[in-house]
Symmetry: C2
Subunit: 203 residues, 2 copies
DNA sequence: GTCTATAGGCGGATAGAC
DNA sequence: GTCTATCCGCCTATAGAC
């Protein structure tokens, strides 16, 4: 928490860390204040209430997720290269912020309407990028390919779930943290091949 | 919350509901007491503290998950039938208790050591069942098949993630709840075919 | 075992000086 | 804008009667 930032920036950075780790209900205003090296009163001065502060942070996180995904999809090249890059970048991104998806999913589950409203405006960028890739698939492989819905969900499932399920998967696969990192790294190639191989999967 | 149960059973049922919905920190003892049609004092009489009550419930949920998975794996028949049944039963099970995986993953992330210790004793049943299916794969398809680790994680990812990501996926796929239910149902066949088709995927 | 009443403290929020 | 001091309600937990 570097001192040479505006107070508001420091608060947001601190709140981001604490909320991600403990969730809305688990976080304490005092803890956020400490992490930002200010006192509780300032939190209320800048963001009025805990709820408001949380909503600002949460909205930013959803944006971060969606824009990251959208940017990842905008890679250039052949269809194979696109998938390769997308899987690589997505796994890398989620690995860098491993608590982000669980945080979003969890708070989304607890407050569906709030989240849905916020995402609705963001999804078009993502859908459009994906559509282009999908059309490219159709040209290359013909019209009889995996439905877009399944394709989309498969990518996200295969990239994200292994990272958010780490504590459980570690135990099931008998791996320590280092070994699990290697495993996740190896999934980049595995998932890419799997996706390419299942373009013509029977519905 | 049927009245004709022991108090302890009613408390556990109520606590289960509330904790799953709101998490440890979001849940209120008063709320649990109300749901169980008793008063707060009884909660402490039976379970001493909120933390203890939570741990009992959480342990039960982890057990429920693992034993359900283990039982699902113990299906009989050809390899194809096994995969078919496993995917079908797993998606059905998670759909019936959609907040269970997110609850476990979330609390696991917040308290890794507690969870890991508890699971370590449970995992063997599951691993053994899966190993049998995998050996069957080897006999049928030869030794050059998808690594067990990836196979295992792929199954869970493809079955579980679409259900826990429902609020987000709904928006991305432009589906209402009914349409999303249909989609999840359609994944039973899709995921089965995908898994069967990728047994010989390049590592 | 079950209840009421209450302790005790934590945590979000505000007042008000500087 | 930033701080200290403080309010006040909520929430866990316990005491103690029945």
């Amino acid at each position: 928490m570097t001192k040479d930032q505006s107070t508001e920036a420091r608060i947001k950075e601190a709140a981001s860390t604490i909320f991600m780790k403990k969730g809305l209900t688990g976080a304490r205003m005092q803890e956020i204040a400490d992490a930002a090296s200010i006192n509780k009163a300032m939190l209320h001065y800048y963001f009025r209430s805990k709820q408001k502060l949380f909503e600002v942070i949460f909205a930013e996180k959803v944006d971060a997720l969606f824009t990251a995904f959208a940017r990842i999809f905008q890679s250039e090249g052949t269809f194979r290269e696109k998938i390769e890059q997308f899987v690589d970048l997505e796994i890398t991104f989620i690995s860098t912020f491993p608590s982000l998806p669980l945080f979003v999913l969890n708070e989304a589950a607890k407050n569906p309407s709030f989240v849905e409203d916020h995402m609705r405006s963001r999804k078009e960028i993502l859908k459009q990028s994906l559509k282009i890739t999908y059309d490219q698939m159709k040209i290359e492989f013909g019209p009889d390919i995996i439905p877009l819905d399944h394709f989309m969900i498969n990518i996200f499932s295969l990239c994200i779930y292994p990272i958010i399920a780490r504590p459980i998967a570690k135990v099931m696969l008998d791996k320590d943290d280092a070994a699990y990192d290697v495993f996740i790294e190896s999934r980049k190639k595995h998932v890419t091949e799997l996706l390419l191989q299942t373009i013509k999967v029977k519905s």
